[in-house]
């Protein structure tokens, strides 16, 4: 069986400065891997290269063993992405937005799919509301619906619960857990919420200044660094001086 997401020796330079330097990791089927690191550590750049939005300076990204640079459009059908920094058109209703993206991803039985997503993500009462008028929790659920409308085998999540209240955050986490189990999806989760990472991720990559400075299961990292939780591990690792060669 092919590994859904493989990153090999990936680097990205901007004007001679390294944003990401020689990172490698894999996300297997039915697995959630977390990427942790301070702002500007290279998480979004890494996700951008996986999505084919950025051309790597070196290295490659393989989706189902096919290099993204060689089959970007075909592979994008198998991936999706959610980020609080990216929104759906505000003037369109939730239903219209899902219809637009359903068509862009060539989703079969789109009406049934939208009904299914509405039920699963509690969108029934807001389907005909204008997206721009929704609360941030509602917008987040709509973006999540868009991100799984094509049943992606690789789902990239950039801070999926940022600025959400605890109830909505918990709902999203539970949904992602169930989605991963049901669909066997491979999920890469970039987050600053250590509780979320401990709960969802089977393994964690710790990044700082564009490199992976440590990786392992959350409980292993906590034990290895002699800390009580992932937050303390995060603080310890990011406050240590890792300089790029």
């Amino acid at each position: 069986m092919h590994t859904p997401l493989k990153v090999i020796g990936l680097s990205k330079d901007y004007n001679g400065k390294s944003a990401v330097k020689d990172i490698s990791f894999e996300v297997e089927k039915n697995e959630i891997i977390g990427i942790l690191g301070p702002n500007g550590c290279g998480k979004t750049t890494t996700i951008g290269m996986i999505l084919g939005l950025l051309k790597p300076t070196k290295g490659k990204v393989l989706i189902n063993e096919i290099e993204i640079e060689n089959g970007r459009i075909d592979l994008l059908d198998k991936i999706n992405f959610i980020s609080p920094y990216i929104e759906l058109p505000k003037k369109l209703t939730v239903r219209q937005n899902l219809e637009v993206y359903g068509r862009l991803y060539d989703v079969k039985n789109l009406k049934t799919k939208i009904e299914y997503l509405s039920g699963e993500l509690r969108l029934n009462n807001i389907l005909d509301k204008v997206t721009g008028e929704l609360s941030s929790g509602q917008k987040n659920r709509v973006s999540l619906a868009k991100s799984i409308i094509n049943n992606p085998m690789v789902l990239l999540l950039d801070e999926p619960t940022a600025s959400l209240d605890p109830e909505t955050g918990d709902f999203i986490r539970s949904f992602l857990e169930n989605y991963q189990k049901e669909k066997g999806a491979s999920i890469l989760l970039a987050s600053h919420n250590m509780f979320e990472v401990e709960r969802l991720c089977s393994s964690v990559l710790m990044m700082n200044k564009g490199i992976i400075i440590d990786k392992g299961k959350p409980e292993e990292l906590i034990q290895k660094h002699g800390r009580k939780n992932m937050e303390e591990v995060f603080l310890k690792l990011t406050r240590e001086k890792y300089e790029l060669k």
Binding site: G52, L54, I73, I79, I86, K90, Y105
Partner: protein
């Protein structure tokens, strides 16, 4: 009061594009109306149907304006709504994006123009439909050039992000004086004439005036316009692809809207 003045003064002082923008519009307006005035002062008896010719040319110029702005607006709306990245991570080929935008720009152009065309007849007794079949050829030529300009500007938006937005609005007005919309090319100074001959607009509007004043069509002008259109369209599409490639290297696609 002084504080509020300073708030805007600092903004203008720190931004060259804003200063250029402030200078640009009056300059273009003065140049355009300068040429128009010069034309009418030299050739006051050139047109026996001044209103009809001027209004028809104004409507035709609006076809160019609307089609180009429509194309740009489709792109800008994705940036403003922070939906740009979603669009580029969908499994859409660039040629599919371009084709979709070209078709949508046509719909937007027609929605904007049809009421204006209908209104000119009862209000001014002028109908561009009097151009007959050649109107279709003139419309298509202007539409192709409008979309081509849209492609050039969108290529800039992809490559440089929202900071290129001002260019999107001002690019068309730069062409207005050179396009010889309301006057023949010989009204321009020699150097401008050389530049203007490289634009399909000169041939399109020259032919429009020819049809309105002389009642027959000179296909040579239209042929010249279509050849230039084809060259610019190929350049526009190539630049769009090139900008996308550069944006993937520079990282503009992932930071768009920020």
């Amino acid at each position: 009061m002084y504080g509020l003045f300073l708030r805007h003064f600092y903004l203008i002082k720190s931004s060259l594009p804003r200063i250029i923008d402030l200078i640009y519009w009056p300059t273009i307006q003065i140049i355009l109306w300068g040429f128009i005035s010069k034309f009418f002062s030299i050739y006051s008896d050139y047109y026996n149907n001044t209103l009809g010719v001027i209004l028809t040319c104004a409507i035709l110029y609006d076809i160019l304006f609307r089609s180009s702005i429509s194309f740009n607006m489709l792109f800008l709306e994705e940036i403003w709504s922070r939906n740009f990245t979603n669009l580029f991570i969908a499994p859409l080929k660039l040629r599919e994006i371009i084709t979709s935008l070209i078709f949508t720009a046509l719909v937007r152009t027609l929605i904007g123009l049809v009421p204006a065309i209908i209104l000119t007849s009862p209000l001014f007794g002028v109908s561009i439909l009097k151009l007959g079949f050649p109107l279709l050829l003139l419309f298509l030529s202007l539409y192709i050039f409008g979309v081509t300009l849209g492609l050039f500007v969108s290529a800039g938006l992809i490559r440089y992000g929202p900071s290129f937005e001002n260019i999107a609005w001002s690019s068309l007005f730069l062409l207005a004086p050179l396009g010889c919309i309301y006057y023949p090319i010989d009204i321009l100074p020699d150097f401008f004439q050389i530049v203007a001959k490289g634009l399909p607009l000169v041939y399109i509007f020259d032919e429009t005036r020819n049809i309105l004043l002389n009642g027959f069509i000179n296909y040579e002008n239209l042929k010249q316009a279509y050849i230039l259109n084809l060259i610019y369209l190929v350049c526009g599409i190539s630049l769009f692809y090139f900008s996308f490639m550069r944006a993937r290297i520079k990282g503009t696609l992932i930071n768009m809207g920020e």
